[in-house]
Assembly symmetry: C2
């Protein structure tokens, strides 16, 4: 049984949406046991509302935590003052091996700070990074770092490439995933100083299958398995991708609603169109793991309705079962 900690208090729709996702994951997956961190009375109520069957309840443990870290709080202050918050308590339990992984829709900053200070970094990794699976023409790719480190050194980027490469290989069963570096051109002289220096390090890294620079559109059209980036540019990429997709699909819906002919047209393509919408639905790709820590923490969008939690729990289970961290550690040693 893999023990997964769930931050029941994290996210805009907590705890109801979180509990809904968790119990759904438990129904689909017999190999996991869940530890819910948060206010016991609220959790009990949410479980009751969700009509959870008794055999599912047997695999749920509740750890009462009296405090919650908000999205607007300073993470470094919160970790010191809110010792009994769901994130801090879960991170302590993760460190001590009481649970194997954490899934949370709470504050990214708080998760990063607690992950780094409590769970700790893998030896040899200077900064943990957010990874996220982005849909592409050829299937998908992992974008790392997509927002944990706004200011990077070349060596951090080199380490992100290694962590991302091992993660992608283990999670998607692909040997020698192709790694590319996000840049504004593919010619050698293109890019800023940081990216050029990172490129020099990546070329010398024999633990990854590095193939040089990628522009955004190359990655979107499937030129790599791992797109490595500094956290600032990676986040700009991610939010532009999401924002553009949302913008186009919104405009498309307006086209469909235009008149009786377009409505009829929509009805004819509806089922195929829904497939396209699903392809761009990041929820189906799980959450964003914080990679580079001694244990895994998976961040889910704050506005989750619970669906993402199901995928993130499976993702956490795969990560633990495939010993991804051990493999990262072995690669660093080589």
């Amino acid at each position: 049984m893999i023990k997964i900690a769930i931050d029941a208090m994290g996210g805009d729709n907590a705890p109801d949406a979180i509990i809904r996702g968790t119990t759904k994951a438990l129904k689909l997956n017999n190999n996991i046991e869940i530890y819910l961190y948060g206010k016991k009375d609220l959790i009990d109520k949410a479980i009751k509302n969700d009509n959870v069957s008794s055999d599912i309840i047997k695999r749920i443990n509740i750890i009462n935590c009296s405090e919650v870290i908000g999205f607007d709080e300073s993470p470094t202050v919160a970790i010191k003052t809110k010792k009994d918050s769901s994130i801090v308590v879960a991170c302590n339990d993760l460190k001590q091996g009481k649970v194997d992984a954490i899934v949370s829709a709470g504050s990214s900053g708080a998760l990063l700070v607690c992950g780094t200070l409590i769970v700790g970094r893998i030896k040899g990794i200077e900064r943990p990074a957010f990874g996220i699976i982005v849909p592409s023409e050829m299937g998908n790719f992992l974008l790392i770092d997509c927002g944990a480190n706004a200011d990077c050194k070349p060596n951090y980027i080199n380490q992100f490439a290694l962590i991302g490469s091992v993660y992608y290989r283990e999670m998607f069963n692909k040997e020698n995933p192709v790694v590319k570096l996000l840049n504004i051109g593919t010619e050698e002289e293109k890019g800023n100083l940081l990216i050029k220096e990172a490129n020099d390090l990546l070329k010398q890294n024999t633990n990854i299958n590095y193939k040089g620079y990628a522009e955004s559109r190359d990655a979107i059209f499937g030129s790599c398995d791992v797109l490595v980036s500094d956290g600032f540019s990676g986040n700009i990429f991610l939010k532009t991708f999401e924002g553009t997709a949302k913008f186009i699909l919104k405009n498309l819906k307006q086209v469909f609603k235009k008149n009786i002919f377009t409505i009829l047209g929509y009805l004819l393509i509806k089922s195929n169109f829904k497939g396209l919408i699903n392809k761009f639905d990041y929820k189906k790709h799980g959450g964003a793991p914080i990679l580079g820590l001694n244990k895994i923490i998976i961040k889910v969008h704050g506005n989750t309705d619970g669906e993402e939690i199901v995928y993130a729990i499976n993702q956490a289970q795969d990560f633990v079962q495939n010993n991804v961290n051990d493999r990262i550690i072995n690669n660093i040693k080589e």
Copy 2:
């Protein structure tokens, strides 16, 4: 008559596509006179192929240039060795006032270097920047810098904001355009060091209507008129926007072709769908001006089929007629 220089040799489909766009612009617009820079024999042949009428030909002047700067050449080397290239000769004529503006689909690097070294920067502006009009939910916004300066200082970004603000006001007739700074979050503490320092300068800049940070999706959904950025992040934004739009529309076309029902569905929404495609067609928004130089140079996509040239010529004319540069200079002095 406004005199517009056209780099007849710039771009993948030069000179034919360039001539096609130029003559179309001449037909639509009686207030311009065109100066074509490039190999006279090739230009003459393209004009002949295009069946240009004699009254249009009267407004075309050909300046024979024996050399062409390629996309793969080092701009700093090319400017020294290819003195008789279309870009270098046109920039010299622009400097001397023989023409009022340049439109080119040639190498961005060569245009930037020639623009800076030959035409010269506006006093007080340390670096020229590429601006581009991006479609948004509310209409459009100007993204500046979208790729000229991969490495920026906070002060450059502050200057881009000013140039962009004046440009947007004059070109779109909008008083006090809202300026926002591209960032990975909207809270004060978000961003990298460069962006935080630029934010401090922008807040003190009384010549612009600065409203703080914007995430990519905020800008796409219309929160600003001018999105200011360092050249690296701005280019990541632009290429991700273009790449995502291309990716989705490609997938959508596949949905339409799926079966007889989807084809019928497509036929019903076709005319409205084409409107959506046009909305995302950057060609309709003209080219990317290099802003911050003493005169205006407009860069058009290298793969233009000529259509963009028409819009870019109008854009150049508007720029000259509205004395945009004089207004930038006056704002800097204040």
